[in-house]
Symmetry: D2
Subunit: 403 residues, 4 copies
């Protein structure tokens, strides 16, 4: 047991931090303003491609991709990548610079792990190169999608093709101008055993019948340029070989996909919370009320101390989960993965809320990034199933441990 | 002691509720969409004026204005008006229909209570008629404005005029196309005793030197058509008779202004929370996860029960505060007014947060009004001083009670 | 609607408060020490009977008993009695002085409402006179008794008698030296409809087969002189006429019994919380740490302010529940009664916990009454069903309101 | 970074766990009942000495003592000892079996680190041998002792002696029949710089003028056989060589003493919380209410899941603090030590409170150990300074990090 980052990890932290400070931080507010401007909807900020090229040249590329997938990445473990995701969590444009954006990361992992050589050639290679983006279509407006057995999208074999009918939403990234690939979760066998009904299939974004109905807003922002789309899949037809892994394997793929993805989300949220903590520390030292600096007031100090305690505990738990995935795989680390999903988004929401409070009116304005960080945390509390689902399932498994 | 609404109050509730259902509710989502469309910034939704006229004809006009100010209103007490404000809290366009929007309400009270006949002729009459809007300029970006002694805006007598220099923000309503009046809080006597330094003065919105620098965003929305402005007051000159009540009376006016205003805010927030509760009740009965309706799940029921307990307690407290203002005035009701400021916005934020959670992804989208209600509650936690100021002052006074 | 105590209520408050200050307060710590001394177990403190006599002579007797039960009490409504229970909640010996102790209060109400003239002659009269005490045997160690349908105690008709077999615990008051009567809840008809299986029956404490196995401890105290007993009912036989109201009416009687009892418990807890608040206010003004009085420290003030907000909200809610029982009966007030059961014990526990914290080591010692108040609040969170049961049922009913 | 216990640590866990299961667990409830019986006050349970002898023979002795203090212990690091303390935390009699009881552990560390050879011969040797017990006299009833500069006990040089005058309380262990040594904190130089006024001095328990006024109760228990005493030091005289380290070094000694002691307390509390979690898991699977096992109910599962998340986070944080002390010393680990003091007792209190709730009436009784665990957690929230002091100081240092 050892609670310090390894030499290798510290080196990566320094490299990524240095790159961010030198190249990204100076332009990230501009990039953010660009994407928030209604006139630039679904356009990529002009600085992005040069940053990506530079990051790739510096070897800071596909950092999330574990070593078992060969030469496309530096081959970091989840534990080594985690603090890099924390750095990226401080501003939402950072992940893409290093080709580490959701949902591409999960999609790349799925393709690397389960894709046929043809699927990998066609989709994985350009994704790894950062040339295209992708989306993951799981959630449906009509049902509680946290229970995968509710999914209604149908994937029906007809000759050499699959016919896809479905209505999806919260399809993150689907509006991105370079989005070329949808990974769609649906049911091939609605009569099979509960967890063998689902399959995943590759659908080109420009396939006939794919209709992006509208972008969805999250706390008033459409999250350009990728957005979150409501998507109709109307009689979409794709070749049978687009199915991933085989009929009835969708739930299994989804489970494997979730583990590292949650580490990424949670470490980014820890970065966001840490950023909020720093902002509040600076703020309270700069304001005077009722004759004393805010930083001298007991309830302010207490909230800052609490925030630090919560962030540090959440970070340790997330790193422990990353370590467990590295050692025993996502299935063996299931409980820890559930725990970080329960703990981290809620923690980040609370810490950012305190930071907003300490900033007064400034805190809810767009002059500081706090409402953006807040919306991100609030959103992740709902993504991949609301807290309540994970609390219930973790509670059930915990009880069983002691029987 | 009696916990039921009086016959009179129930009649008013029925009238306002009936008017809202018949005339406002059918168009309020359209009005809201209009105001949120970037193309309509600072434009009033087209339905508004007709609704105002109709409300005025129905005698549902200036409902907030207490009886002591004569014939301009039905003369409801704070306790009688409170449940009407609750009805208005469910959608932000409602208050204006009844000419009960902040900050006009507070401004009208100030003018009715302290204004000279000339001031009342020029400003109060068109405000009471709903012909113009107004703004209240107190908060400043450079200082913690919850401590009124920090205020830096200067109001200097020069001959027959006052010269005003200041930098304000969170000036609600200042961008409204009909905004004609600013009530400005500043210092006339920076060397006087702490609470005698401040004065309030009337400034026409179109006075030379008044510059609305930009609108501020609250969780990504500019709150058109009134907005919240950052305002520079550069060598603004107004006649000396524009001063309200006299030099050094600003703090005193501000104190009196706050009591009823907090009742209004808090009752609207209680309406917002009640609306969120209703939305979650309907939602959880309509969704199935893991084989059971959400409404059958223990943690869902518990959160709904908690929300109801919190809302009902907060409503009783706010009504008790309203009753106290009616009986003993804002000064005598000071502790209760502080208590509702502490309790209600936080309660509303929590209840709406639970409602968001029960709606899944839908909850953070613009398809339901939850993020708007959330932002309103979050904003009010900061308006008129953050929770922490009120906790500290109420704590201090409570300790003194027992010494 | 009116938030001030009536003239009548204020008069009663003054009478009870005056009596307590003159006669009870001077001896209550001695009485408490007497009861906590292991050498005095199950003995009544020597001061008690004189105090009871004096209270009875002053007309401060059976204050809890509503007017519909005739001449045995002053005939106060629940709303009028509530603030008197608050006064009694500050020290546990007070209730008995006024013959207002649980579970006698509930038992007297049951006998007054449902008892035959013979039952009333034999049991109600001496209870109303304060000559005997009684106990209520509902909870069973083997089952979750918050669900009354779980109860296993059997009450079987055999000729002119009922035969009772059961194992009960948390039988409050059963160890009291004057305890003469047990009201036992059991099943007469285990095959009937869920809520028609139960009956209540009167059992003399000295009946053959009644065995008080042992006293139970609550946070280390046996609560002498009444205690909480574990009781075996081994082939206990009583005359058939001891049944209350009729076979299958037990659940119905229990429901009616609970409403006023919860008002009493909750108002006593509000008194306890208010007492804790006063203690902390005095304490923090008397201690200095790190160069400032505790009372000048922001987090201390905030906790005191929060406590006051919570107490005042809880009091309003409980008074509203009392008023509702008076107006529409316990059944019609069911939701409010559930709400106070959920809110008040938890609130009192929190407030007392803060008071303990502000007292440092003194707070957990027996030099101040805080751990006693804490244990009372903690106990009531479990009595009559844990919070969770009420949250679930209230949640269910709240959802149904909106469907 | 590595989140698994080392092979060595696992071996120690197995040894201690095995010893506890074989020798201690079978008798620990008897030992506990013995100590709680008023007839056995200040008597050691008869099984204890044999258990100590056996543990010593098994090499499971002085496990807390770090390697730098030579041959008296196996020389475990704080990180290695931590999980052993967790095992001991499940029942309060365990620590003494392994000679790892507070406050002896801290006193032994102080003597080992700062004692002269003579002091070590006289006091450290019998403490390490488990032949005597000791006490630490710091807290005073008259002042907020969390601020060491408040301490009023005087230690005055008079010739070859020191004269000690003081009034202490919460002197843990002082009533133990084998208590032979008091380490007293007082002021030798009230006019020196704030943190150079204090000194520590060794006082034989039987010195003239040492008067144990009375035992204090914690939630109704006197914690026999060690107890917590109120102690008068009336003109106590000891030889000058009894001073530890030198005049004015008391604060410095206290600081060094606190680090490992907090690890011990916190790991024991984590053991207590883990035990409560296990008890609640078993309980909820064994009870049925409203037709379903408690273990199938959503709010029960959620509370269990939350408890597990909180325990695991707190354990990681405490282990990280232990590791930091091992690597950089208590001073370098100051922030982490403050964090566990803030987090762990509160967490344990919450988890045990939930366990009480899930046990119904059983939970507050003495049939399960929950109220004992609760009282321990509640007590530690106040020991070594209340949470608020640590929140304030940690908050201050955190703010300074970012300036």
């Amino acid at each position: 047991m050892n609670f310090e980052y390894s030499k290798t990890t510290l080196d990566w932290i320094n490299k990524v931090q240095g790159f961010v400070e030198e190249h990204v931080a100076p332009v990230e507010e501009d990039m953010h303003s660009f994407t928030e401007d209604p006139d630039n909807r679904w356009k990529v900020p002009p600085q992005l491609e040069a940053l990506k090229r530079r990051a790739r040249e510096a070897g800071l590329w596909n950092l999330f991709l574990p070593p078992e997938y060969g030469a496309f990445s530096p081959g970091l473990s989840n534990l080594e990548y985690a603090p890099l995701a924390e750095i990226m969590g401080r501003c939402e444009v950072r992940s893409e610079v290093f080709n580490c954006s959701a949902p591409d990361t999960g999609n790349m992992e799925v393709l690397a792990k389960y894709g046929t050589p043809e699927q990998q050639d066609q989709w994985l290679k350009p994704l790894l190169a950062g040339e295209i983006r992708s989306s993951f279509l799981m959630t449906e407006p009509a049902v509680a999608s946290s229970d995968a057995t509710n999914i209604e999208c149908s994937i029906t074999r007809e000759g050499d093709e699959y016919l896809i009918q479905g209505h999806k939403w919260w399809s993150t990234g689907v509006l991105h101008p370079r989005n070329k690939l949808l990974i769609v979760m649906g049911k091939t066998n609605p009569d099979a055993e509960r967890h063998r009904q689902q399959s995943m299939i590759l659908v080109p974004t420009d396939a006939a019948g794919v209709e992006v109905v509208r972008p969805l807003e999250v706390f008033g922002s459409v999250h350009s340029p990728g957005g979150h789309g409501e998507v109709q899949l109307n009689n979409v037809r794709v070749p049978a070989e687009n199915l991933i892994l085989g009929e009835g394997r969708g739930f299994e793929i989804a489970q494997g996909r979730l583990g590292p993805g949650r580490i990424h989300h949670c470490m980014r949220l820890i970065g966001a919370a840490q950023f909020a903590l720093e902002l509040m520390c600076r703020r309270v030292d700069a304001r005077v009320a009722f004759g004393r600096k805010l930083s001298a007031q007991g309830s302010v100090r207490a909230d800052i101390a609490r925030s630090r305690c919560e962030i540090d505990q959440a970070r340790l738990l997330t790193l422990a989960a990353a370590d467990a995935i590295d050692r025993v795989g996502a299935k063996g680390a299931m409980d820890l993965i559930a725990m970080i999903k329960i703990v981290v988004p809620r923690m980040c929401q609370e810490v950012v809320d305190r930071a907003i409070q300490m900033h007064g009116g400034l805190g809810v304005s767009s002059d500081v990034p706090l409402t953006r960080l807040f919306a991100y945390a609030r959103f992740v509390r709902l993504a991949d199933g609301p807290d309540e689902v994970h609390l219930s399932q973790l509670g059930k498994r915990t009880i069983q441990q002691y029987l």
